[in-house]
Symmetry: C2
Subunit: 421 residues, 2 copies
């Protein structure tokens, strides 16, 4: 029988949605009041009145690239560029507990709440329980990966060995001595540890469960863990928002896709735009958090995924998404000029008869060429659209009408097919 | 004016001593009841009746080398060899929170208490305060160094950037972006970071305080930090017992030696024996902790130091010790046989007229030779002592009577002067 982390996971979906919507006004008001960059993002919007997905969709998506730009622009005064609602200093309301740098020049604050990145729910679904010893092979240095899962393991009541990265032989020795039942880290490093132990003639046999993340888990690698008696499950988390979604299983059978965490609001948005796509369509994962210390609103992760309509057989009633389907940031350089997905969105905004579009880049004879393929129900004014494309992109391109539903469902707004020889 | 971490630091010394003695019976009883290896160590001793230093001295010192042996012997059942009073498993009374490996095959448990290693007091004396941003350049991987100071910084209300080791340029970049006021880590790595920043043309100017540890802080290096406006203070901590002692200052002037932490019981013991030495004499640092999760009793750190009789001008009334004066483990191999400081102690036990002794090892013509120099008030029965030395060490050696107080006060029981060419 499947056990659940809490009753939230098996709620009536309508209750979950109503709860998320009910929490939005207070969270957005808090963000606007305490995080200047979010206040700027929500300019002209009454945060306290946002309590539907439609209203939420009126808020511009804050993409990771923009967050970085804003951090860099305001760095002298505030390393977080106005996105944090927690502060440095004594006797502040929300003290900063730790700071992480991930990637490179982007900084994220960790506040003082337990399991600040909500990973305990995902670890529970992966089978971890109070009293388990967890070998954590993510890095604790600078980046938050290890800390996100360390905090969740602590919240579950697990003991953690903070192994970190590298030092393969010492990690194997510690595994043999301490006999951890669980591993967290990348799947490739787990494989390296297991194979090193085999090579030394002292196989690691204590591991029964693993929460892997940070890279793809190919089915063959999952099967190789399974053959050793290790049930490996994946989660999807980012440095900015923490746990986003996690795999679930029924009687050892891993279910399709991932379950969205109960305490975030996830949207799938057409890349380069602010508009949610229909269920099933691939788009960018956009997250609104309920984190009081780092209250990101409509944060564009840059990752592509899609909602799965069917409920999970695991009994959890939450929204499901497909795994990671690529990067949404499809900005390309054409004839030396940048072309952004948002420019394609601008063309569509001028021509509402276009339902979806895809800018295909090719380079026959090593010369860049663009073709804008437009799904339309009826007629397309090719001349007008060609002119709009030129006005907006400053580049010439061909415009082609295609049948409704004929473009691939892969989240690509700019499809770069150029080949360099 | 000097400020203090709490009122404990300025207590009447007699009150401090009375308080430590009053806490001993409960702590030792707890250790005996919950840590089988400590129960074995205290065999035949009524733990609940130990409330003087003299009674404490009847308990055999548990040296780090013995702790390792016991851990190795019991590893199959318990990685901590019976020394931990916290447990794995769900619904246990004292759950293990984290496990560290330091050095190599020795494991230490961290329980759930805040600032488990008591470093906040030392960080406070180094000038750290709530709201300070601390750049932590100790490693969080496997070993507890970074965690000991991370926990203390959190207890003080500081924010921490977990920088870890290596990645020098990224650490410099983070320092320039985040502008930490405090550094914790080794002094040599601080120097590397500062010089790298200079070299890049972007000197780090935000740092004002540093808590350095893990290696010696030469006066020239301290002065170079001082010249940059960074007040660097040292602490002495070990993986097993956490903070042992810390430097204090008066109006920026660092005081001699180090102040012993308020919540440990520290003895200086003649190497190889269980006997405390008089104040001022160099010997091994032996610590009894009041940690409920890892209740080490008379733990021999293997480090040499000595009590300082005079009180500190900083106003703290605690016991003071000189800094690290070398290693107490003077086991040597002579003509292929191990000679231990405890064997020298056995010779002395058979001949109470010897007040102190020192076994000097030399190798004239590349052949090992031993000379036992004995401080005696009156006559020495050289023949009898020579026989005792042979009986106990299985090795022949010369015995020499020397004047009382003529042997150097450096904690050396075995002085290995051999030169290999």
């Amino acid at each position: 029988m499947t056990t659940y982390f809490d009753h939230l996971e098996t709620r009536n979906p309508a209750d979950r949605e109503a709860n998320l919507m009910a929490r939005l006004p207070a969270q957005l008001s808090h963000a606007v009041a305490n995080a200047p960059a979010v206040a700027h993002q929500l300019q002209g919007i009454n945060a306290a009145a946002v309590n539907t997905r439609a209203q939420l969709a009126t808020i511009p998506v804050m993409r990771k690239s923009s967050l970085l730009e804003l951090q860099l622009a305001n760095r002298a005064n505030d390393p977080f560029g106005g996105f944090a609602a927690c502060q440095f200093g004594a006797q502040v309301k929300r003290p900063i507990h730790r700071i992480f740098a991930s990637p490179g020049p982007i900084y994220e604050p960790e506040g003082e709440s337990n399991d600040y990145a909500r990973s305990a729910r995902g670890l529970f679904a992966a089978g971890l329980r109070a009293g388990d010893l967890v070998h954590n092979s993510f890095s604790y240095h600078m980046t938050p990966g290890a800390w996100i899962l360390d905090a969740g393991a602590a919240a579950l009541g697990c003991a953690v060995f903070p192994a970190g990265v590298g030092q393969t032989e010492q990690q194997v020795a510690a595994m043999l001595d301490l006999k951890p039942v669980a591993y967290v880290g990348t799947p490739s490093f787990l494989r390296i540890l297991l194979e090193k132990a085999d090579e030394l003639g002292t196989p690691v046999t204590s591991l029964k469960k693993a929460m892997v993340s940070g890279e793809a888990l190919p089915p063959s690698v999952r099967a190789s863990f399974e053959a050793r008696g290790i049930a490996a499950m994946q989660c999807y988390a980012t440095a900015d928002v923490g746990l986003i979604a996690y795999e679930t299983a029924v009687a050892g059978v891993v279910q399709l896709g991932m379950m969205v965490d109960e305490n975030i609001l996830l949207e799938i948005v057409r890349p380069g735009t602010n508009e949610p796509v229909p269920v099933g369509e691939v788009g960018e994962v956009v997250v609104t958090t309920f984190n009081l210390d780092y209250p990101l609103v409509r944060f564009g992760t840059g990752d592509l995924s899609a909602f799965i309509a069917e409920p999970s057989a695991c009994g959890r009633t939450g929204q499901r998404i497909r795994g990671w389907l690529g990067r949404a940031d499809q900005t390309a350089k054409v004839k030396g000029m940048f072309v952004h997905p948002s420019q394609v969105a601008q063309v569509l905004a001028k021509h509402p008869e276009i339902k979806r579009a895809r800018l295909v880049l090719t380079n026959p004879d090593q010369r860049d060429a663009m073709q804008l393929r437009c799904e339309v129900a009826g007629e397309l004014d090719v001349t007008a659209v060609t002119q709009s494309l030129r006005d907006i992109s400053k580049l010439g391109g061909e415009v082609l009408a295609v049948a409704l539903g004929s473009l691939p469902n892969d989240g690509k707004v700019i499809d770069d097919q150029r080949v360099y020889q």
